[in-house]
Amino acid sequence: MLELIVISTLNGVLFGMLLFLLSSGLTVIFSMMGVLNFAHASFYMLGAFFGYQLTKWIGFWPALIFAPLLVSLIGMAVERYGLRQTHKHGHVAELLLTFGLAFAIEQVVQMIWGKLPMDYRVPAILDFPAFTIFSTNYPAYKMFMLLISVAIFIALLVTLKRTRVGLIVQAALTHPNMVAHLGHNVGRVFMLVFGVGTALAAVAGVIAGPALVTQSDMAALLGPILFVVIVVGGLGSLPGAFVASLLIGLIQTFAVSMNGSLASLFGPLDPSIGPSLLTDIWNVTIAQIAPILPYVLLVLVLIVRPMGLMGTRES
């Protein structure tokens, strides 16, 4: 029992940190610009593919620097020539633009790299088990992911709370119009923020690529859960996203490790009722519904606390 708890906690924290790595950029973009970037997971995918390609040419560590830079250039171009033009037509137009962009990026990735998974490997220097607990290995690479996540969290938090850029972000959260009226070069700041947000997604891609499968449908796989993270955490709240990532990671892993069902709790149904919808519900285990629990959480949070766990704005 202790073994399962310790291991599930570890797995949950690791998965949660991966989620945070992904959602941090999304949250930054939303809190600053009010744009719900549907293409965020696509930038993450671009990061993974660029990371794979650059790793082949110049090695993993340079790729970890250059792939996010490249992706942030693309992100800034999207902001400058796409979002800024649609901004005057309101949020729906922006939303649709990023929505379309997600499909476009997927198609381009398929055209260049094809539809098969890439052979993107963990760098040799990190390819060893970091420690063993209850005879389960924890690879060094996962610890590296954890470290990067925490480092990004701290760096972003310091930037947001202690610097001038952070001041503007904070102000934009509560008084978006006032900030614009104060005469900041809003255009350039928005472009940079979008660039930073997409670069964060790309960092997640470069790092998650070898750990997961680098394939043209990887964006579609992780896209939905990111929105759960930032809505549960509170739109635009960085600590909220951090807590929500951990929460979702832990809920999912613990649910998977539980085999209980209504049948095991209350005993099997009377066989005279026969097979029906009820017997399906009765026999389904918690483990089986684990992957939908985050979405249940999303619905609950929206009903009970629409601003999210740590959000400040109801939108």
Binding site: L14, K115, D217, A290, I292
Partner: protein, 412 residues
Amino acid sequence: MRRFLTAAAVALPMLGFGAGAMAQETVKIGYIDPLSGGGASVGEVGLKTFQYLADQINADGGILGKKVEIVPFDNKTNPQESLIQAQKAADAGIRYITQGNGSAVAAALSGFVTKHNSRNPGKEMLYLNYAAVDPVLTNAKCSYWHFRWDANSDIKMEALTNYIKGVPSIKKVYLINQDYSFGQSVRSEARKMLAAKRPDIKIVGDELHPLLKITDFSPYIAKIKASGADSVVTGNWGQDIALLLKAAADAGLKVNWYTYYSGGAGGPTAIKQAGLDHQVFQITEGIPNAGHKSAVDFEKAFREKTHLSLWYPRAVNQMRMFKAAAEKAKSLDPVKVAAALEGMEIEVLDGGKGTMRKDDHQFLQPIYISSFGSLTDKEPFDEEGTGWGWKLVAKIDTAQATLPTTCKMKRP
């Protein structure tokens, strides 16, 4: 209105005739499988395989002097979309369709050709199924117009459990499968057959997880580890098998994996990355390194041309048999070809006899169990450039890979 109807009555048969005349020049086979979306990587490989096989037949003079043409239709792995595409194929005068990815799609298509043929006598279509393995298709829901070349999942489990019967080191088995019709049938058959053949084996876990939704399998691996299993049986395919094996290797889980589809696109790469040398077993109707002379030559030529390894030996059997049946019937009329296919026997790609069982249109053939890992001189082919490949572990003869059918075939 009457004039319109008259015009339509004149025009429609002409249209139909036109399409029929066009179809006479070549034998068109509609390939209805995913060419976009999540299933595209698999669908693409199938398409290339069939195009290669068609080219090969054409180079030998075609079928009854007619060239074979593969016409791709994208069904996005969706049953509704597949019906639309099948109708498109029918409208274009295509009389043969082939499909393999997804048993829900296969059930829809089998129903489609059955209905189509009863409503359009003289324009019958034949459905050649190269990979959808739901047993229902050749049992309760069998159709005269459906022929299947892959062993259905029950037959594969029969062959696998016949192998497991002779391996006493397997004592604790963990089942993990995708939560839909195929995964559920793998799980229930495994339970049933293991209980009958090896009552001493303990099923220490039985997991169903959502289809193609999991990004991190480590919680499942933790459970497998906690259960003390020595072997895992899984029908997972696509990223569900790749990510599962990766997570297992990360955690250092030491078990043997008995799989249906670990050889699919991305699987070998994942196994090599994970370093699971000869710990992953696969059950198929043929492997590149089986050593049969003509199959080796075929594999070599196929790889040279397509840069893929042959993942569908059954497609080779299917096309060869299709040609043989048309020649036996001396006609490309689907009704006559179907009659010729029934009970037909051929030499399968990897050697040995295969029979298209008349009762249910299920192809019966030898089944191979192979493991993936480092190779010796006797195994020339690796997979996905990993340097590792499939090594023959056991050949299950046709008699050991056969199950009775419950099909009550309605013949036209």
